[in-house]
């Protein structure tokens, strides 16, 4: 048995890697810079976790989302891998210092880009051996990426400061432009590239044109009722999330729950677990759900509201059919809905007419203070505040007038790019002639090599609903005595007593 297979067995309990994982693991073990574009849910994390565990020294994993970090850590803990930890701004001071004090015994450190850009963190990391840096969701680094994160731009310089350890970038969605940008910003030298098609052949694609909210609701109920699930329904806001959940609970025979940022942590975790475990058929969610969630048997992803660009769309539908079985994705398209991504995009950028007063607020403050001020006092979103803070730091020498001009230019530029992407999304939705799969791939600079069957509505196919299993759904109202026994001893023993 090779050392690799042995480690794979020991840590993860798998006998072998997939064909596409193998070369990535090998490249990283050989300290080669690597860019990997892999579809979501294809077991990408193991590609860097395994080499990280095998190498001496620490691997830093830069991850933009708390939920992603949490999920990966939970999975590692469940596998009894204890040499992994996270560091982010949501942790208490005690938790943070506990992590820092055991840095030298860690193999994997998940860190937010904000934390990694703190000077004292970099100083601490300099004192230990950092053998590899991994950037997850690496498209965030790009101006062209769908969620530009200014802190990502600091990763390159930090890498330099840490003695240029091997660098790996992972993403699920990256157009050729974005790929170029990633390589440049992370200062990768002739990286090994593993670019997989974004096409998911086993997900059939559908768009339903609707003329009003009522029709949309009716269509949603019809589709959800006909599908056995499990499935996800994406909506834009917490309020709509709750509203549609209630509607589906009433109008379908499915077990339906809502998932959004407004719920308590414990409730969110519970619902996520229930969905994973098969206690729920449908989750109505905002786009915060599903990040890093590994559920293989999702039958469908239904967009009640469509996302702001093709990258988000690919990422969200990518949660269906991970087990390779036939799955489907559908958008309920209402022309008026365009206002939703418009508003979202507007909120992601600093309002131009407030730039002047924002600069006044920001004068003389630290970066963290600025961000906080802008969010709390001026009601900006975090993304917008970060945007401004970044440019303030980038141009410390510029006069106020010069800065204002530069900022306006940058905001306009970003607005233009976002509009362009939204327009592409709308065109895709409104298309009534060409194959949807071919058009979607075009956005990512790919050609359609093989048309699957079923492919899409334009190719004349119907939604491939799965067969309803006549399995008995869990009886909820067992008396508490039985339930308590089950909790401790499992169903079998509880049944016998």
């Amino acid at each position: 048995m090779s050392e690799k297979t042995e480690a794979l067995n020991k840590y993860f309990g798998f006998p072998s890697l997939h064909d596409y994982q193998e070369p990535i693991v090998d490249a990283l073990l050989a300290d080669t810079d690597t860019l990997a574009v892999l579809p979501t849910g294809s077991g990408k994390s193991i590609c860097f976790q395994l080499p990280a565990l095998m190498k001496s020294g620490l691997t830093i994993i830069v991850s933009p989302l708390l939920s992603l970090m949490d999920n990966q850590l939970q999975e590692l803990r469940a596998k009894h891998i204890k040499t992994a930890a996270a560091y982010n701004s949501f942790m208490s001071p005690e938790e943070k210092s506990r992590v820092l004090s055991r840095l030298s015994s860690l193999k994997l450190l998940y860190i937010s880009p904000e934390a990694l850009s703190l000077p004292f963190i970099v100083e601490r990391l300099k004192t230990i051996q950092v053998s590899m840096m991994v950037v997850d969701e690496a498209h965030c680094i790009s101006q062209w990426g769908h969620e530009f994160r200014t802190d990502y731009l600091k990763i390159g310089p930090v890498r330099q400061a840490l003695g240029r350890p091997c660098m790996a970038a992972f993403t699920a969605t990256a157009t050729p432009e974005v790929q170029m940008d990633i390589k440049k910003q992370l200062q990768m030298d002739a990286p090994a590239e593993y670019i997989h098609s974004v096409d998911r052949e086993n997900i059939a694609l559908f768009v339903r044109q609707c003329t009003g909210e009522r029709e949309k609701k009716k269509e949603m109920i019809r589709l959800v009722q006909e599908a056995p699930g499990p499935g996800l329904v994406y909506v834009s806001s917490r309020k709509r999330c709750e509203e549609l959940k209630a509607l589906l609970q009433k109008e379908t025979s499915h077990r339906v729950e809502a998932y959004h940022g407004g719920l308590e942590n414990e409730t969110r975790l519970m619902i996520q677990q229930q969905f994973l475990h098969g206690d729920l058929d449908v989750v109505v969610c905002t786009n915060s759900f599903g990040m890093g969630l590994n559920k293989a048997d999702v039958e469908f992803v239904l967009h009640y509201h469509f996302p702001k660009d093709a990258e988000s769309y690919i990422q969200e539908i990518g949660r269906a059919g991970r087990d390779g079985r036939q799955a489907w994705a559908a958008v309920l398209y209402l022309e008026d809905d365009i206002i939703i991504p418009q508003m979202l995009m507007e909120a992601e950028l600093p309002p131009v007419n407030e730039l002047g007063s924002a600069l006044e607020t920001a004068a003389g403050s630290s970066r963290a203070e600025i961000t906080e001020e802008l969010i709390n006092r001026m009601g900006w979103t975090e993304t917008a505040a970060r945007f401004l803070a970044y440019y303030l730091e980038k141009y410390p020498e510029k006069s106020r007038g010069g800065l204002l001009e530069e900022l306006e230019k940058q905001v306009q530029q970003r607005w233009f790019e976002k509009q362009k992407k939204l327009k592409a999304m709308i065109q895709w939705l409104e298309n009534s002639e060409a194959c949807r799969r071919r058009l979607l791939l075009q956005v990512f600079g790919e050609a359609l090599m093989k048309r699957p069957e079923p492919c899409c509505d334009m190719c004349g196919h119907r939604i491939p609903f799965r067969e309803h299993q006549r399995a008995e759904k869990e009886k909820e109202t067992a008396p508490w005595e039985t339930r308590l026994q089950e909790l401790f001893f499992g169903r079998e023993r509880a049944k016998h007593e």
């Binding site: 975790l269 475990h277 339930r483 909790l487 499992g490």
Partner: protein, 351 residues
């Protein structure tokens, strides 16, 4: 009537028009202020402290406004006859729920986290399922469970059986619906817990009420565990600390213990004298060993208690009018904080 509405009326009834309506709001949401903490004690309303934590102020105000309009609340904020009749079944629920947010809000949360995580962990080990996502993410609780498992070693299955017996006993003593809530909140190796909302749906009850009954059940469990050393549940208790004090009162207590006077503390902490007085009142009510004799002469304390009992009121102004001029508001509040509970019980039974 909705749970929230009933709780508001009950709170106002308990306050007997001697406090503002806002005091009822602070009581129900469990505000951490000296005034609310002492109110909960004086008006024997620990079972309402933090009973509806998510209630927001505008909503509270619109509910009370509509009660005034309907005549359910009389001027002065006391429920009228019709309202009193309507809330009587709810008062029974409160009486039987075992809820005591005043004493157990924080310790209750910690206790439940430990119990829930312990049960999840033990059940996974027993059913030989090693991989699971802890349903409790709290690091302290996780470390506590880890330490306990290490300490128990191979005995852990015996411990699990004991814990099962203890839980079954406790749940039997609870009201049926509360036993149901606890059993369905918990997560085991094969069975996932339910959210409060899901349980509310199953029981066809309001979410707020389920939440209240849930905490009431947890508080009952703690009370029982406290009296039963040697049980597994007793081991789940958090020992140490005076969690009932507000952080700021805790600081004042540090200064008192260093020997500073009231004025000295106000200067040292750069706070108003009245603020420090609030802390003293809070500490007096909270810590039995804290004597107020050097602040209020014992015979004056006696006089205050006597007047409070004869007038059957905690209204400071009314008491002050009946007492000598040298009995300050501060002296009255301190005395009531120390002895409020005792005299109140006598009052209530005389009603």
């Amino acid at each position: 009537m909705l749970f929230q509405e009933a709780m508001i009326l009950i709170a106002l009834k308990r306050l007997r028009g001697e406090r503002t309506d806002a005091s009822a709001y602070h009581l129900l949401t469990g505000k951490r202020s000296s005034q609310t903490i002492t109110d909960a004690k004086w008006f024997q309303s620990k079972d309402l402290f933090g009973a509806v934590p998510a209630l927001d102020k505008p909503h509270f105000e619109s509910i009370t406004a509509s009660f005034y309009r309907r005549g359910w609340l009389e001027a002065g904020g006391v429920p009228g006859a019709e309202a009193s009749a309507a809330i009587s079944p709810w008062e029974k629920i409160v009486e039987e729920a075992g809820f005591d947010g005043w004493t157990y809000r924080d310790t209750g949360r910690q206790f439940w986290r430990r119990v829930a995580l312990l049960i999840q962990t033990l059940s996974h080990l027993y059913q030989q399922k090693k991989q699971f996502v802890p349903i409790i993410q709290d690091v302290q609780a996780q470390q506590w469970v880890k330490r306990k498992l290490a300490a128990w070693g191979p005995e852990k299955y015996t411990v699990m059986n004991r814990l099962y017996e203890e839980m079954a006993d406790c749940l039997h003593e609870l009201k049926e619906v509360q036993a149901f809530i606890l059993a369905y909140k918990l997560t085991g190796a094969e069975t996932l817990g339910k959210t409060t909302e899901q349980i509310a749906l199953l029981q066809d009850m309001e979410k707020d009420e389920i939440e209240y009954l849930f905490h009431g059940a947890v508080h009952t469990l703690i009370k029982k565990a406290e009296n039963q050393p040697g049980t597994v549940l007793h081991e789940c208790l958090d020992t140490g600390g005076n969690p009932q004090l507000t952080v700021t009162a805790e600081k004042t207590l540090d200064f008192i213990n260093k020997g500073l006077s009231l004025d000295g503390i106000a200067r040292a902490r750069r706070l108003k004298k009245s603020t420090i007085e609030d802390h003293f009142v809070e500490i007096a009510g909270e810590i039995e060993e804290f004597s107020i004799d050097h602040l209020v002469p014992p015979d004056q304390q006696e006089a205050i208690r006597r007047v409070a009992a004869s007038l059957d009121t905690f209204k400071l102004k009314a008491l002050k009018e009946q007492l000598d001029d040298d009995a300050t508001y501060f002296a009255i509040r301190l005395t009531l904080a120390k002895g409020g509970k005792k005299s109140e019980r006598e009052n209530r039974s005389a009603e």
